[in-house]
């Protein structure tokens, strides 16, 4: 059977406070949207089953607190991520400017073995607001940035009306799947005699 490790794909969503990380996740997993702003505390995930090539995977989507003061335990949950989603609000310049920090912070903290090729996906959210009239970050600008960081896939989304959310997450899942397991499989250094004894006593044949 396939390794259980590879059946679980871990995705981390990062971005400034209020850009719509929770809303994007809720829209994708539950197809629900609420206009109300509720801050996220700590890190939490939702799961969704996805199917590729007749194989079923569990997507574990980690939503994070954009406000630093609600991330008091640190970011140990970055470990083992298969894909990192960077979200900004196309109507707020600062949230776009922060993407670089979020990306770098992630690479430092998660320290994937091959940071150059670690899969990111960038989402420009809230394109529905004010019919696009209050937009301050152009698609071109965002794409230029993505290109400069090793051709990060870019999606313009609206968590509110669900625009492009499915497509974005499909891309996220595919990229997560392509990501090689970050660590070599753990092997005990020596044959553990005590462990062996325990195994014998429990009647195992190995």
């Amino acid at each position: 059977m396939a390794s259980r490790r590879r059946m679980l794909l871990k995705v981390i969503i990062l971005g400034d406070s209020g850009v719509g990380k929770t809303s994007l996740m809720n829209q994708y997993v539950n197809r629900k949207f609420s206009n109300q702003y509720k801050a996220t505390i700590g890190a939490d995930f939702l799961t969704k089953e996805v199917q590729f090539d007749d194989r079923l995977f569990t997507l574990q989507i980690w939503d994070t607190a954009g406000q630093e003061r609600f991330q008091s335990l640190g970011v140990a949950f970055y470990r083992g991520a298969d894909c990192c989603v960077l979200v900004y609000d196309v109507n707020v310049m600062k949230s776009f400017d922060s993407l670089n920090n979020w990306r770098e912070e992630f690479l430092i903290q998660a320290s994937p073995p091959d940071p150059e090729n670690f899969p990111f996906v960038v989402l420009g959210n809230k394109i529905d607001v004010d019919g696009g009239n209050s937009r301050v970050v152009s698609e071109k600008k965002a794409k230029t940035w993505c290109a400069s960081k090793g051709n990060i896939p870019y999606f313009e989304t609206s968590a509110k009306d669900g625009f492009n959310v499915e497509a974005a997450f499909e891309c996220i899942a595919k990229n997560a799947l392509k990501n090689e397991p970050e660590e070599d499989p753990y092997l005990p250094e020596t044959i553990d005699m005590t462990g062996g004894q325990q195994q014998r006593s429990s009647g195992c044949e190995c």
Binding site: M1, R4, K38, I41, F70, S72, A76, Y186, G195, C206
Partner: protein
């Protein structure tokens, strides 16, 4: 010591991870061979690593996350087992064989979540069971993480509207709330443990742990069943009750912050009274100002997000409630630093500006309350507090982009009173910048009065003590005042005159350092008013109070006179001459004469530097030349004086140039009665004599004659007046001058001067050119040989 602690911790963490990985390896192997018993055994051993008490919360979290990832695989394995026919009840029983309580409970929670998912048992029963059992862990750190695990694995399995699991809101509410109270107690108590010297470390640990507590509130806010009514009637009162009862300042602060952040704005608006009423009940050491500021910040942003939501604010009288609550908090917390109080007022002001932009009285009310508080402590010397005041006072400017609106706030200047001199200036500069940026027209004397009252930090020295100021900063700030003076304008001359009078009163107090910056713009602004009146007919109905140029000139005289205290004679002289010219345009001979007299007095008594004298003389000549208002007598006096000054300059070349400049005083093209060819010639001859003398002096001193430049300049003057038809300027005179120059240039003793040569050459070319022109000019030039 501390370093050791950190190193030790790293070691413990590595050991924990190693143990965890090893057991996880065997657990995975067991799962791959579908060996349930071994999988359970190794998972329990793996989870035993979480029993450590040696790690700080962050490190423990790192270990917990690894265990968590492994448990996710175990969860999948349990599902497979169930498909193979193992019943959940059996699984539920089986995991209870784990020897230690902590691993047992983690496994129970894992199975429990799968159990609920299978719907073989009612979610609420399983959850209740799990919650009860998790209470068994009394150690705060381990307990909090375990409960966090339970809350995480069961989160998507809560009975909720539209969820797959049956039950009502009350079930999940009880789940979340049940899990909570003793946690808060735990977080509170853990702060009290340990020796006092470790207090700081404890505080840090507790701070790190708070998210685990806050997550429960977050989970609650995500439940759709918690609608406004439910929130209002049950959730909020019960949560607040627990917050108040936990009696721990750190926990209270954090939980209040969480409540504000995780629940939506609409809920807060509809429950403001309840939320706010909890504030006075919190421990006195709780940082309530930050809590309330964040609440107001949130609501301000909500108000700014759409005008559609504003009626909600009005309906619940949000301002009154917040205002009331803040008043109470400030009153109750006598020890609150002034910084805190100002921060609160600042947030409230921002709130009311967003929500009630039309209610200036509200804004003024907030400022008034702030004044009242400030009056109890006097002038501020707290850096953070003054910064907040600047933010407070900047808020109305940013909102309205119009200082005139802010001037309507009667308490605005009263708040400024409490700023130290330095900050007062900063604020004044911000105000000026606002006027500049928005091009605000300040058009009534009353507003100008109020504005200058606000800016008095820039207008005059606020106290006697000498302050060390940076020269450049000072210049910059005074230049900004100067720009502001130019911005004041009213169509109506009477009101404009009032404005000028007000500005004058303020500017006059500025002292010798500021006057040179402020007087000139005021004079020019006033002269603009004169210009506006000048074209108008004398108003037959004018009464004593109406503005006349005469009245304005009197004022101008006073304004410029102020510069004598500096002293700044050169600036004053220029301004007097400007005024004289304006008086000339208004046909006010005596006034113009008076201004000239003032300029002359300055020249004679105050301007002693020879270069300054040269500049001044040329200004005088230039202005006087343009004057047409003077009668013969006055004019004679003034021109006579001017020529006298010219001839008395220190250096011969300067004398020469000033004197030939005076020639223009006797020749005005536009007026036939001002064409005195004889005196023009006298001036030029005199200039020629001086040039000769200069030449001789130079030859005596250096053994070589100086350049011929002066002669060429005089030649040009001759040509000018010749062309203008002055009968006194003859061809012969010009001819001899040309010869003189040619001889001088060829003389051995002369110093070569290419510039002078070129100048002469082009003068000669000009003569040739005029000759070729033909007509009357050509005829005139015909007889000159060059």
């Amino acid at each position: 010591m501390i370093a050791d602690g950190v190193e030790d911790e790293e070691k413990w963490l590595s050991a924990g991870i190693a143990g965890l990985q090893q057991n996880a390896f065997y657990m995975n192997r067991a799962m791959d061979s579908n060996n349930l018993r071994d999988a359970l055994k190794f998972s329990a051993q793996m989870l035993s690593e979480l029993r450590t008490s040696k790690l700080s919360p962050q490190k423990y979290y790192a270990l917990y996350m690894r265990a968590f990832d492994e448990l996710k695989r175990l969860e999948l394995f349990f599902k497979e087992e169930a498909q193979r026919g193992c019943s959940f009840i059996d699984l539920y029983e089986l995991v209870q064989h784990a020897g230690n309580i902590l691993p047992r409970l983690y496994l129970l929670c894992t199975v429990g979540s799968v159990y609920i998912e299978s719907k073989e048992a009612p979610a609420k029963d399983v959850l209740k069971d799990l919650v009860e059992m998790c209470r068994g862990i009394q150690h705060p750190l381990r307990g909090l993480f375990l409960r966090s695990y339970l809350s995480q694995v069961s989160k998507d399995k809560l009975p909720d509207i539209g969820s797959n699991y049956e039950g009502s809101y009350t079930d999940c509410e009880s789940f979340i709330l049940l899990a909570d109270p003793e946690l808060r107690l735990a977080i509170g108590l853990s702060g009290l443990q340990g020796p006092a010297r470790e207090k700081e470390k404890r505080e840090k640990e507790r701070n790190a742990l708070r998210d685990l507590v806050g997550k429960n509130l977050h989970a609650l806010s995500q439940i759709e069943g918690v609608d406004l009514d439910m929130y209002k009637e049950t959730v909020l009162p019960r949560v607040l009750e627990q917050v108040v009862n936990c009696k721990d300042d750190l926990a209270q602060f954090y939980l209040m912050d969480c409540i504000i952040q995780v629940f939506p704005d609409e809920y807060h608006l509809q429950t403001l009274e309840v939320l706010l009423s909890a504030c006075p009940q919190l421990q006195p050491s709780v940082d309530i100002k930050t809590v309330l500021s964040r609440l107001m910040e949130r609501l301000s942003n909500y108000a700014a997000s759409s005008t559609e939501v504003l009626p909600e604010f009005l309906q619940v009288e949000a301002f009154a409630k917040l205002n009331n609550a803040i008043g109470k908090v400030i009153e109750a917390q006598v020890d609150m630093p002034i910084f805190g109080a100002v921060t609160l007022y600042s947030s409230l002001l921002t709130f009311t500006l967003h929500v009630h932009p039309d209610r200036l009285d509200y804004a003024d009310q907030v400022l008034g309350a702030c004044v009242k508080k400030l009056s109890t402590i006097g002038k501020l010397d707290d850096n953070r507090a003054t910064k907040q005041i600047v933010a407070l006072l900047s808020a109305p400017l940013e909102k309205y982009n119009d200082i005139v609106t802010a001037l309507k706030l009667s308490n605005y200047p009263r708040v400024m009173e409490y700023l130290d001199n330095e900050t007062n200036k900063v604020m004044a500069s911000i105000i000026i910048q606002s006027v500049m940026k928005n091009n605000t027209r300040i058009s009534t004397a009353d507003n100008v009065e109020a504005l200058f009252e606000l800016m008095k930090g820039l207008i005059k020295d606020l106290d006697e003590t000498y302050e060390e100021v940076d020269e450049d900063d000072f210049k910059e700030e005074q230049n900004s005042v100067a720009r502001l003076i130019q911005m004041l304008y009213n169509e109506d001359p009477d009101e404009m005159f009032k404005i000028i009078t007000v500005v004058k009163t303020h500017v006059m107090t500025g002292g010798p350092k500021r006057l040179p910056f402020t007087v000139p713009p005021l004079v020019f602004s006033t002269l603009k008013l004169v210009k506006r009146l000048q074209g108008q007919e004398e108003n037959p109905f004018a009464n004593e109070t109406s503005t006349t140029p005469k009245k304005i000139f009197q004022l101008l005289n006073q304004i410029i006179e102020a510069l004598s205290s500096v002293p700044a004679p050169e600036t004053a002289l220029r301004l007097y001459l400007q005024c004289a010219e304006a008086a000339n345009d208004c046909d006010l001979e005596p006034v113009a004469y008076e201004f000239f007299t003032q300029a002359y007095i300055l020249y004679e008594e105050e301007i002693s530097d020879s270069r300054a004298q040269v500049t001044a003389i040329h200004l005088i000549i230039g202005t006087l030349q343009r004057m047409h208002v003077f009668g013969v007598e006055n004019r004679d006096t003034l021109t006579h004086k001017a020529t006298g000054y010219s001839a008395k300059l220190l250096k011969k070349p300067d004398q020469c140039r000033a004197v030939y400049g005076c020639a223009h005083l006797f020749w005005n093209d536009d007026q036939d009665n001002m064409k005195d060819g004889e005196r023009v010639l006298l001036c030029l001859k005199r200039a020629l004599r001086i040039a000769n003398a200069a030449q001789q002096m130079s030859s005596a001193a250096r053994g070589s004659t100086g350049s011929v430049t002066l002669f060429v300049e005089i030649l040009n003057k001759y040509l000018y007046f010749f062309e203008k038809g002055n009968p006194q300027i003859t061809v012969a005179a010009i001819q001899s001058l040309i010869e003189l120059i040619t001889t001088e240039m060829q003389s051995d003793s002369s110093t070569p001067d290419p510039a002078a040569d070129a100048f002469f050459a082009s003068t000669v070319r000009y003569i040739q050119f005029q000759k070729q022109k033909g007509g009357s000019i050509g005829e005139r030039y015909e007889s000159i040989k060059a």
